[in-house]
């Protein structure tokens, strides 16, 4: 008997999570948290490609989320683009900028790459903050909504915005997961994972290491951009914080906590770190202490991240 491939196992698990979670929602407010989880999950799946597959680091990916978000804010006003097309424009722009920035930056390794990407994120944040005429500066600016709800309403389906976004963000995340899972076992995925393990060996079997690093960087930038666009469209508002350092760190932490090597791990990381602060608000002042403690404990005892470590435990069990 053949066992279920990791790709289908992951997809089924994600669909189950998406479909079953609403059964446990005490109020419609939780749909909004769910939507946020899926949006963050999308950005984090992008980071799985960069960090988990290719073994590169970025401390500046919120910068791409910022580009995606502001594309949705500015596209309709200045270019007369529909919100959806603005999202696409943002993704293309993020990909192009990632390509330009990635070429010099990805020659660096480890700490140096971390600092360079950090610099990139800060740069985007500062531009969004300072170009007040265009972006509204630190106060942020309103964003035209997707318009999907109005469309549905005129067709006779009234649906709450939070519910709509829950299902929409879930679909987009599923699509993102599918692509990332496809990539994993494809020629490109093998090239990315091999340069992660040994750049020298990858290079000598014919893998253009620089080009594939750039590929992973561009792919992950597009994921972050689409996530940023969705946040802007859902909130109908955007501020430079979306491109801020804290947001970059948040995304990185989600990736590593859940397990950078696995798409499912990334989604679990996004779920925990998006939902936990909401749950922990009951603890008030202790919220951040508990959150920090959880993160430290996971990293000490499960350095590969939650999901890969647990998966290993299950596999080791005698059958």
């Amino acid at each position: 008997m053949r066992t279920l491939s990791p790709k289908y196992a992951t997809l089924i698990a994600l669909i189950a999570l998406i479909a079953l979670a609403p059964l446990f929602f005490p109020s419609t407010f939780y749909y909004r948290i769910g939507a946020l989880i899926f949006i963050n999950g999308l950005a984090v799946i992008g980071l799985v490609v960069l960090i988990g597959y290719a073994g590169q680091i970025s401390l500046g990916h919120a910068g791409f989320a910022g580009i995606g978000a502001y594309a949705c804010a500015l596209g309709p006003i200045h270019l007369g683009l529909a919100p959806v097309l603005s999202l696409v424009l943002g993704a293309v722009l993020s990909g192009a900028i990632a390509w330009l920035v990635g070429r010099p930056i990805l020659r660096l390794r480890g700490h140096y790459l971390a600092v360079a990407t950090l610099g990139f994120g800060i740069l985007i944040y500062i531009v969004l903050n300072n170009e007040a005429q265009l972006t509204g500066g630190p106060d942020g600016m309103p964003v035209e909504g997707l318009g999907l709800r109005g469309l549905l309403e005129s067709a006779g389906f009234a649906v709450k915005a939070s519910k709509l976004w829950y299902w929409l963000a879930a679909l987009v995340m599923l699509a993102g997961a599918l692509l990332a899972l496809n990539l994993h076992d494809s020629p490109t995925g093998r090239a990315l994972r091999s340069l992660h393990d040994s750049e020298v060996a990858a290079h000598t079997v014919g893998i253009d290491v620089a080009r594939y690093k750039l590929t992973a960087f561009v792919i992950s930038a597009v994921y972050a951009s689409v996530a940023g666009s969705q946040i802007a469209l859902m909130n109908e508002f955007v501020s430079p914080d979306i491109a801020g350092f804290l947001h970059s760190i948040e995304l990185l932490t989600m990736t590593v906590l859940g397990g950078a090597a696995m798409v499912f791990g990334a989604v679990i990381g996004a779920t925990i770190l998006t939902a936990l602060p909401q749950v922990l608000t009951a603890l008030q002042d202790f919220e951040h202490i508990v959150l920090g403690l959880i993160m430290m404990l996971v990293m000490i005892f499960m350095p590969e991240g939650l999901v890969p470590s647990l998966a290993r435990l299950v596999r080791r069990r005698p059958r």
């Binding site: 692509l179 496809n182 990539l183 076992d185 494809s186 020629p187 490109t188 995925g189 093998r190 090239a191 994972r193 091999s194 992660h196 393990d197 040994s198 020298v200 060996a201 990858a202 290079h203 000598t204 079997v205 014919g206 893998i207 253009d208 290491v209 590929t215 792919i219 090597a261």
Partner: protein
């Protein structure tokens, strides 16, 4: 025209010369061995030939084309492949995937096709898997191909590297101590494997300390000492060369080299 030709190749590290000015060539289908005491510069020479180190002087040509300091992935596309003395296995990938990655040049395609798992992408993966399984069988690793490479013992990893190097379809294969750490039986297997690879017309440049192996399978031997070529020729000539015996004097290699002829 020689398949590989190295002229005046040399490099230094921080003022110390690791390889002086070395000349030699490899003809198609030949097994050429590069021997010499520890620190003689054999691996450094491999690193320059395979594009990992930028030489300070000299030239490397493949089929007459100057490929000095060409990037390793472009050399691979020209038919040069290698293994590593200090293993460079993709430890987070399965045994099978390691060899599949070695077939990158044949299996790569548009990234969009890979993201969308288009039929073309899946076809390329399937062809690569079939080819990789054949190569694994050739090096005797067909069983447990789905295991993580990190679970294999040292000797098996050495053979895995050979299978991966073969997957890129080389015309010239550089093997850096493929029998190191192997017992007598495994060394015999490596010996046969190398002979079979050469039998298919793939030229081999071999670095190996096991003198019996070297003397038995080489068409031609080059002796390196302190970064300089001190002798070269057929196994018989080289083993009787006084300079070679001196370089190895007192070391196990010298006795073995002389002993291998008796």
């Amino acid at each position: 025209m020689s398949l590989l030709s190295v002229t005046g190749l040399g490099i230094g590290f921080g003022g110390l010369t690791a390889v002086g000015k070395v000349d030699f060539s490899v003809e198609p289908g030949e097994i050429v061995s590069l021997i010499g005491p520890n620190g003689a510069g054999k691996t450094t020479l491999f690193n320059m030939i395979s594009g990992l180190y930028l030489p300070d002087r000299g030239r490397v040509t493949l089929d007459g084309e100057d490929v000095t300091a060409m990037a390793p992935h472009r050399l691979a596309a020209r038919g040069l492949s290698r293994t590593f003395q200090n293993l460079q296995v993709f430890l987070r990938m399965t045994v099978l995937e390691n060899v599949m990655a070695g077939r990158h040049l044949a299996e790569r395609g548009p990234i969009l096709a890979d993201l969308l798992a288009l039929p073309g992408s899946r076809r390329r993966s399937r062809a690569t898997e079939a080819a990789a399984r054949k190569l694994l069988a050739r090096v005797g690793l067909e069983r447990g191909a789905e295991r993580d490479a990190s679970e294999l013992p040292y000797g098996a990893l050495k053979r895995l590297e050979i299978a991966r190097a073969l997957a890129s379809g080389p015309r010239l294969l550089l093997l850096d101590e493929p029998a190191a750490g192997c017992n007598a039986v495994e060394t015999g297997e490596v010996d046969q494997l190398i002979a079979r690879i050469a039998g298919e017309g793939i030229a081999i440049l071999l670095v190996e300390h096991d003198m019996k192996l070297v003397m038995k399978i080489s068409n031609h031997i080059i002796v390196l000492d302190h970064g300089e070529k001190i002798a070269e020729g057929a196994p018989g000539e080289v083993a009787r060369n006084p300079k070679v015996i001196e370089a190895y004097l007192g070391s196990q290699g010298g006795k073995e080299a002389a002993g291998a002829l008796d």
